[in-house]
């Protein structure tokens, strides 16, 4: 059920997204005032700030927002699919497969293009592997899918450790950045944005069914939801969203797990609302985290995945506490 209170939340998140973008565009080694920023945004000059904005800050903020949105959306879907509050986009081994792909590319000294494509290929391999094994005997239950995913994930973990321990220290540095999630080399293209938009639109299209599905598969089936088709759809879409996100920024943790829960605690339990809100909050969250990651100890940069946990943990605990008091 959607009330005006919920629409207010949605509106506030839209404002938050805008503020986070402004914040991100203003922070960095080249100082920029708010007036300058608006000037550059609406009447671009051909000076240094304009160049910094156009070539560095705007693409990076966009990459952060897209990644955060993708992860939060994938998190909601995984939590519905597995009906497990601990589910996150990586629980079924997608990030593990992507990591093995990306790390192998780093090990072989291949460029950025290879790295992101190897990550995407690794993610897809993992998706097919988990689905193939879980579906082997024609009857895949949620438990079976979860167990298969967790086991495959552990297998990838072992491979990742082998890669880390056998690589030169030079490579290990960039591998660790990838594993923690890092936006410093990220660029989003049209395809990434398209995945996000189609993900939200498709999610909204089945959002009522998601509302029923979280109450259990039997209840959903009795209320007219086609369970088998829905499971497959959710598995594939969450996988694609996650694979796209890790391709952009490595495995940024925390966003996909916690953003959906934060919103549920704030009252957005209906998926018609939860899906768009997750994209907005997940995106804004990562934009702010990235702005901090590149300014806290500048000129050095932190991997954004570290910052998401540093600001995510306390803010989640505050919301959890206040919701218990209610």
């Amino acid at each position: 059920m959607i009330s005006s209170k919920h629409l207010l939340l949605l509106a506030m998140l839209i404002v938050l997204a805008m503020i986070s973008f402004l914040l991100s565009l203003l922070s960095g080694s080249v100082d920029l005032s708010l007036a300058q920023l608006f000037g550059e945004l609406f009447q671009p000059q051909n000076d240094l700030p304009a160049q910094v904005l156009r070539e560095i800050r705007i693409p990076r903020a966009l990459a952060a927002f897209t990644t955060g949105g993708l992860l939060a959306l994938a998190g909601v879907i995984m939590q519905v699919l597995l009906r497990n509050p601990l589910a996150d986009p990586y629980i079924l081994g997608i990030s593990g497969g992507a990591a093995v792909g990306a790390l192998s590319a780093i090990l072989l000294g291949l460029g950025l293009w290879w790295m992101s494509n190897a990550a995407f290929a690794g993610a897809l391999l993992s998706v097919v592997l988990v689905f193939g094994i879980a579906n082997k005997f024609g009857r895949w239950s949620v438990t079976r899918l979860l167990l298969t995913g967790v086991v495959i994930s552990a297998g990838w973990g072992a491979v990742i450790n082998i890669l880390l321990t056998t690589s030169s220290s030079n490579n290990v540095q960039s591998m660790l950045f990838w594993l923690m999630g890092d936006l410093s080399q990220s660029r989003v293209g049209f395809s990434h944005l398209a995945v996000l938009l189609v993900g939200v639109a498709g999610g909204l299209y089945v959002s009522r069914s998601l509302n029923v599905l979280v109450r259990g598969e039997l209840v959903a089936a009795s209320l007219g939801v086609n369970i088998k088709a829905m499971r497959l759809l959710l598995y594939l879409s969450a996988s694609l969203l996650t694979a796209t996100a890790v391709t952009i920024a490595g495995s940024v943790g925390f966003v996909g797990l916690v953003i959906p829960h934060m919103l549920r605690l704030l009252g957005a339990r209906d998926h018609r609302l939860l899906l768009p809100c997750s994209v907005l909050l997940g995106g804004s969250f990562l934009v702010v985290a990235d702005a901090l990651a590149r300014t806290i100890i500048s000129p050095q940069q932190l991997p954004v995945g570290v910052v998401t946990a540093i600001i995510g943990v306390p803010s989640f605990l505050v919301i959890l506490r206040s919701s218990i008091k209610k």
Binding site: M1, L223, G224
Partner: protein, 255 residues
């Protein structure tokens, strides 16, 4: 035309034969009781009737159409089921939950139609839950939760009510009230009902027809007064069951 028609239905779950060659027709405004001892397959039979469990052989027809040919959503608009284990305790309010009962009927992708909201509110009122509309489901008592599941089923407005232990967790007053409510709903919507229950006296009082599952796929079915005899019941429940007559009704008790 019968709302539900079973033609020589055989059903098996694991090593338990629930029924063999069961024929039955359930017409509008009829109330059927499904009785039998624990583990005999009452729940499985109910689940099979909405296609949640595959059958061994035979056909299930809903208003003359073969069950497998009816799209899930259309089926859900006509046939509603009350599960024994009720609804999960995920964070949700009572109103949000009861509104899910409208799922098979909703037209708009994102908007809640006022008509659906009204049906949901009326269902809450029917089950005396109006005051709890904004409460979280996980703060409800067992009985309130059962009433919520019932309200959800009422909001679904099916032609055929399948109910698994509808009086679970309900106090005596509410059990009687529920029967009156169901009676009203069946008449209003020309619906029919099949309920699985352990309460022989409830079935005797409320149901016009009984299917008594005997185990091993055997069953006895027919008008209540013919099926519910101490002899049949003792055999079905592996326990001596006697009866006394009082206030014009027959009561059954274990001896």
């Amino acid at each position: 035309m019968a709302i539900l028609e079973l033609n020589s239905l055989s059903l098996r779950i694991g090593t338990t034969q629930v029924c063999t060659e069961l024929d039955m027709r359930l017409h509008e405004d009829q109330r059927w009781g499904l009785l039998g001892k624990n583990g005999v397959g009452k729940t499985t039979l109910l689940h099979a009737l909405i296609g949640l469990v595959p059958v061994q052989s035979g056909e299930i027809l809903i208003r003359g159409r073969i069950l497998g040919n009816i799209p899930r959503q259309e089926l859900a608009a006509g046939v509603g089921i009350l599960f024994q284990h009720g609804i999960s305790e995920l964070p949700a309010t009572v109103m949000e939950t009861v509104l899910l009962g409208r799922h098979p009927h909703v037209q708009s992708l994102l908007r809640d139609e006022p008509a659906d909201l009204k049906i949901a509110r009326d269902a809450l009122q029917d089950l005396k839950l109006s005051k709890l509309a904004e409460r979280q489901v996980d703060t409800l008592s067992g009985g309130e939760r059962q009433r919520l599941a019932l309200a959800m089923l009422i909001a679904q407005t099916p032609d055929l009510f399948l109910m698994d232990e509808p009086n679970n967790h309900l106090d005596l007053a509410f059990q009687v009230e529920l029967l009156c409510l169901l009676d009203r709903k069946l008449k209003q919507h020309a619906s029919a009902l099949l309920m699985a229950t352990h309460d022989i006296n409830l079935a005797a009082r409320f149901c016009e027809y009984i299917i008594l599952l005997m185990g091993n796929g055997e069953f006895i079915k027919g008008p209540t007064e013919e099926v519910l005899t101490p002899n049949n019941l003792s055999q079905a429940f592996d326990c001596e069951i006697g009866s006394i007559v009082g206030q014009g009704r027959t009561f059954f008790y274990p001896q």
